[in-house]
C-alpha cells in the first residue's frame, strides 16, 4: 500500500476509487443520472467526466429500471459498470432488475455467467429531504441471496471497498449515507482494497458490544467516548458488510462483553438488528449473555420533514449512551 496518506472527504475518496478503477481497467465505466457535467446529485463523480469523457461517465435518462438493467446487461457482456442511483429511494423503480435479474442470473443459469456490476445508493436521513429521499432500505437488499451489500462508514473504507466491489465477480450494492459524504478522514493514495464481508472493531471494550452500521458507527463511537467517562467500556464493531455478515467478529465480541446493542438507521422491525440478535442467540455466545439484547433502529414511520421530528426518527448518540448504561448497570 502506498504510504502517502491524505485527509479526504468520503465523496472524494469514492471519486478517487472510481478514477483508479477506470485507469486500471478499460472495462470499468460509470452510469447514472446527472453524473456527467453536473457531477452527480452529491458531487461524487464531480469532474470525472473531464478526465474520462462522456463514454465512460455516462449520463442516463431518468429510467432507473432500464438503467439498472443496462448495467446488468453490460456486466454480462464483459464490462464492469458502476451504476449510481441518485437516491437509494429510487432503487424501488429498479428492484426487478436488481432482485430478479442481477441477483439470480448466475444461479438460474447454473454458474454459466457472473454479473460483476456495482450499484451505488446515496442513503439515509438528516438532509431535510423528507420521506421519499431519506430512507435506509439496505436490509431489503441483504435479504436477497446473490447480492453483496456493504455500508462503508469512513473515507478509508469506502475507497477500499469500492475497489473490492469492482474486482468482485458478483453484484455488489454500496449504501452510502449522505451525511458521510463531507466527512473527512485519512485515505492512503493509490490502489488498496478493504475486503467485503469483514467487520472492523473500531474501539475495543469490555462491558458491552455495540454493533453499528454506516453513520451509526460514528454515533456509537461518540457514545463510547461518553461512556468511558462513566467507566463503562464499550466495544464498537463497524459491521461494514451486511451480506455476507462477519459472524465471527460479532460472536467473539459478545463472548467477551456479554452484552449486545445493535444500532442501525433502517426501520427497527425486521431490520439488521433482528438478524444480528438472532445470529448471536443461535451461537455459542448465547451462554455468555448477561442481559437482554437491545436494538436501536429507525422509528416505525416514514422520515418526516420537520428537523426535530427527523432527528427523532433515527438513533442519536444520547440514546445509545442511555441504552448501554441501562444494560451495564442492570447487572447486579
Amino acid at each position: 500500500m502506498n504510504q502517502d496518506i491524505r485527509a479526504l472527504s468520503y465523496a472524494e475518496a469514492l471519486r478517487e476509487a472510481m478514477a483508479i478503477a477506470m485507469e486500471a481497467d478499460e472495462r470499468v465505466f460509470l452510469m447514472g443520472e446527472d453524473i456527467g457535467v453536473y457531477g452527480g446529485a452529491f458531487q461524487v463523480t464531480g469532474d470525472l467526466i473531464e478526465r474520462f469523457g462522456a463514454d465512460r461517465v455516462m449520463d442516463t435518462p431518468i429510467s432507473e429500471l432500464g438503467g439498472a438493467g443496462v448495467a446488468v446487461g453490460a456486466a454480462l457482456g464483459g464490462m464492469r459498470p458502476i451504476y449510481e442511483f441518485q437516491f437509494s429511494d429510487f432503487a424501488m423503480l429498479a428492484m426487478e432488475q436488481i432482485a430478479n435479474q442481477a441477483a439470480k442470473m448466475r444461479f438460474m443459469l447454473g454458474g454459466a455467467v457472473s454479473v460483476p456490476v456495482v450499484m451505488r445508493f446515496p442513503a439515509g436521513s438528516g438532509t431535510g429531504a423528507a420521506a421519499q429521499h431519506s430512507q435506509s432500505i439496505e436490509a431489503w437488499f441483504a435479504h436477497i441471496p446473490g447480492l453483496k451489500v456493504i455500508q462503508p462508514a469512513t473515507p478509508h473504507d469506502v475507497k477500499g471497498m469500492l475497489l473490492a466491489a469492482v474486482a468482485d465477480p458478483d453484484p455488489v450494492m454500496i449504501f452510502e449515507h449522505k451525511l458521510l459524504y463531507k466527512m473527512k478522514g485519512p485515505v492512503p493514495a493509490g490502489h488498496y482494497t478493504v475486503p467485503i464481508g469483514e467487520a472492523e472493531i473500531r474501539c475495543a471494550g469490555r462491558d458491552v458490544t455495540i454493533v453499528a452500521t454506516s453513520i451509526m458507527v460514528h454515533r456509537s463511537l461518540a457514545a463510547a467516548a461518553e461512556l468511558e467517562r462513566e467507566n463503562i467500556s464499550a466495544e464498537v464493531i463497524d459491521l461494514r458488510t451486511i451480506r455476507p455478515i462477519d459472524r465471527q467478529t460479532v460472536i467473539e465480541s459478545v463472548k467477551k462483553t456479554s452484552r449486545l446493542i445493535c444500532v442501525y438507521e433502517g426501520v427497527k422491525t425486521m431490520g439488521i438488528g433482528a438478524e444480528i440478535s438472532a445470529m448471536v442467540v443461535e451461537s455459542e455466545a448465547f451462554d455468555f449473555l448477561d442481559a437482554p439484547i437491545l436494538r436501536l433502529g429507525g422509528a416505525e414511520t416514514p422520515i418526516p420533514y420537520n428537523p426535530d421530528l427527523e432527528r427523532a426518527a433515527v438513533p442519536q448518540t444520547p440514546a445509545i449512551v442511555e441504552a448501554a448504561r441501562r444494560l451495564v448497570t442492570a447487572k447486579a
Binding site: 465505466f29 432500464g66 438503467g67 446488468v72 446487461g73 453490460a74 435479474q101 438460474m108 443459469l109 454459466a112
Partner: protein, 344 residues
C-alpha cells in the same frame, strides 16, 4: 408506419422468389426446416413428458411460432447474442442449442444447460450466445440493451436480438429500453412476437396502438410489421435490421404477427379465445407453409422432408435417453452458483 417490405424481389437470375431463396443455399434452407421441425417436436415431446409426470413445474410452448425464432436467427453469427422469454424453447434451439441438454434441463439434471437450476423458464445457452430466457415479462429488454452497449464499447462486430411478447410492450422496461437503445444507437434488434395474447388479455384490448411496431416511431427507429408465420419474410426483416445494427445505425423494432396454438401455460383452459380462431391459425402452420414453398422451389421433395423428420425423431429419442440418464444435482450443492466464490 412502415409496412413489411418483404418477399418477391427479382433476383439476379430474373426470378421472382422470396428473399431466403436468393440469400441462402439449399443446404441452409433444409437446415432451417430441420430447426423448425426440431422446435416443434421438442415442444410436443416436452409436453408429453410433462403429462406423464416426468417434468414438473410448468412450461410455455411456442408451437405455431417456429418461423419467428428460426427466421430471426438466420442472419445471426456465432458471436451474436440474444435474450429470450418464458416462451423461449424455440429461440434456444434456433440459436444452436442441443436437444439433449435442453431435455436434461427440463428433467432437472446436472447435464442441463443450467445444471437443473433454471428449468424451462430460464433455459440458456451462453456458449452459443443465448443469455437466457426470462421469467419476468420484459425482464430481458434492458439486459439486451446493456449487452449491446458492451458490444459497442468493446468494438465487436456483433448484434443482440431481444425477443419479447406482445404483453411486454406495455411494461415500462420496454419503453425505457427502446429509448436508451435509440439515443445511444446500439446494435439491438427488438423482436416482438405478437401471438395475440398476454396470458388471456388480447393485444387488441391491452395495447392502445394497433400494432406494437407503431411504437417504434416514439423512439425514432424503424418499426416493421411482418407475417410471423412466413419464414422468408421474418428472415428478411431480421437481415435488414441486423445490417443496420452492424453498420452502427442503431436498433429496429420488428413485430412478428403470429399465434400460439397452445394455451399460455399448463393451467390455461382457453376460455378467452374460440376454437374457430385456434383452428384458423393451425391452418396457417408455418412449417407446412415453408415445406410447401420449398417443394415449389424444387429444394425438397416428400422423401427429403421425411428424411429430415426422421433425423429429428432420432435426435429427440437420443435426447430423452440422455436426459433420463443424466445425474440429478446433489442436495449438498443446493447453494452452489449463488455466488462465484462460495461464501462460508
Amino acid at each position: 408506419m412502415a409496412k413489411a417490405k418483404t418477399t418477391k424481389r427479382p433476383d439476379a437470375a430474373g426470378g421472382n422468389r422470396p428473399f431466403i431463396y436468393n440469400r441462402y443455399a439449399p443446404r441452409q434452407l433444409r437446415e432451417a426446416l430441420a430447426k423448425m421441425q426440431r422446435i416443434r417436436r421438442f415442444e410436443e415431446c416436452a409436453e408429453e413428458s410433462y403429462m406423464r409426470g416426468h417434468i414438473h413445474g410448468t412450461m410455455h410452448l411456442s408451437i405455431g411460432q417456429e418461423a419467428s425464432a428460426v427466421g430471426i436467427c438466420m442472419p445471426l453469427n456465432a458471436g451474436d447474442q440474444l435474450t429470450s422469454t418464458h416462451r423461449g424453447h424455440g429461440h434456444c434451439l434456433a440459436k444452436g442449442a442441443e436437444i439433449a441438454r435442453m431435455f436434461a434441463e427440463f428433467f432437472g439434471r446436472e447435464d442441463g444447460y443450467c445444471k437443473g437450476r433454471g428449468g424451462s423458464m430460464h433455459i440458456a445457452d451462453v456458449a452459443n450466445g443465448n443469455l437466457g430466457a426470462n421469467g419476468i415479462v420484459a425482464g430481458g429488454l434492458p439486459i439486451a440493451v446493456g449487452a449491446a452497449l458492451a458490444i459497442k464499447k468493446l468494438k465487436k462486430p456483433n448484434v443482440v436480438v431481444c425477443f419479447f411478447g406482445d404483453g411486454a410492450n406495455n411494461e415500462g422496461a420496454f419503453h425505457e429500453s427502446l429509448n436508451m437503445a435509440s439515443i445511444w444507437k446500439l446494435p439491438v434488434v427488438f423482436v416482438c412476437e405478437n401471438n395475440g395474447y398476454g396470458m388471456s388479455m388480447s393485444a387488441a384490448r391491452s395495447t392502445a396502438v394497433e400494432n406494437v411496431a407503431d411504437r417504434a416511431a416514439a423512439y425514432a427507429m424503424p418499426g416493421v410489421i411482418v407475417d410471423g408465420n412466413d419464414l422468408s419474410a421474418v428472415a428478411e426483416a431480421s437481415q435488414i435490421a441486423c445490417d443496420r445494427a452492424r453498420a452502427g445505425d442503431g436498433p429496429t423494432l420488428i413485430e412478428n404477427k403470429t399465434y400460439r396454438w397452445r394455451g399460455h401455460s399448463k393451467s390455461d383452459r382457453n376460455r378467452y379465445r374460440t376454437k374457430e380462431e385456434i383452428e384458423a391459425w393451425v391452418a396457417k402452420d408455418p412449417i407446412i407453409r415453408f415445406q410447401d414453398e420449398m417443394k415449389s422451389q424444387g429444394i425438397v421433395d416428400d422423401a427429403a422432408i421425411a428424411e429430415i423428420r426422421a433425423a429429428v425423431e432420432q435426435e429427440i429419442e437420443a435426447g430423452l435417453e440422455f436426459a433420463k440418464a443424466s445425474p440429478p444435482p446433489r442436495i449438498e450443492d443446493l447453494t452452489r452458483f449463488v455466488y462465484t466464490d462460495p461464501i462460508p
